[in-house]
């Protein structure tokens, strides 16, 4: 509980938002999916920071789960919604 958690969490959130805005203009939909994956990993970071920033150890479990399952969205996108060589 060093008092730095929340500012860093805020910084990470701004980081995410910038990535989201950049992806909004991204050429292919794959860029947007990368943003979703970024949300998964950075989100885990934000959750851990929130946990140690005062919300309690329970959020670490949420972060664990998010880290574990974030990849599934990306895999589902690659296996189902992405046709190789289709430029959109």
């Amino acid at each position: 509980m060093t008092g730095f958690e929340l500012p860093v969490a805020l910084f990470l959130l701004c980081n995410l938002i910038v990535a989201l805005l950049a992806a909004a203009r991204g050429p292919t939909v794959a860029d947007r999916m990368l943003t979703a994956l970024l949300f998964g990993s950075t989100g885990t970071g934000v959750l851990v920071l929130l946990a140690y920033g005062g919300a309690g150890q329970m959020l670490v479990d949420v972060a664990l789960l998010l880290a574990l399952l974030a990849a599934i969205g990306g895999i589902a996108f690659a296996r189902r919604a992405w046709q190789r060589g289709r430029d959109d």
């Binding site: 995410l16 939909v29 947007r32 929130l50 949420v62 789960l65 998010l66 189902r80 919604a81």
Partner: protein
């Protein structure tokens, strides 16, 4: 105007923005990806509302199942350009 409130405000604005993008996206696959982003933001929102149980459920269902269900449905409808 504490730091906590700034974090919440930013999170909330991003949630509304991603929800709006998800409904108004021109192409369907962008809408689904934006919806997955919205699901992940909801997990953060539940963490801020000191509701870790719902955060767990939202993360498990949003990232694990609903996103995959929607993308699978989108893949199955791939024959028609929507």
């Amino acid at each position: 105007m504490s730091l906590e409130f700034a974090f919440d405000l930013l999170l909330v604005l991003t949630m509304v923005w991603s929800a709006w993008r998800s409904l108004s996206a021109t192409r369907l696959d962008r809408a689904i990806v934006m919806f997955i982003v919205f699901g992940l933001l909801m997990a953060l929102a539940w963490a801020r509302l000191s509701a870790p149980d719902i955060g767990l459920a939202e993360a498990a269902i949003g990232a694990g199942l609903t996103g995959a269900l929607l993308l699978d449905a989108y893949g199955a409808l791939q024959r028609r350009e929507i």
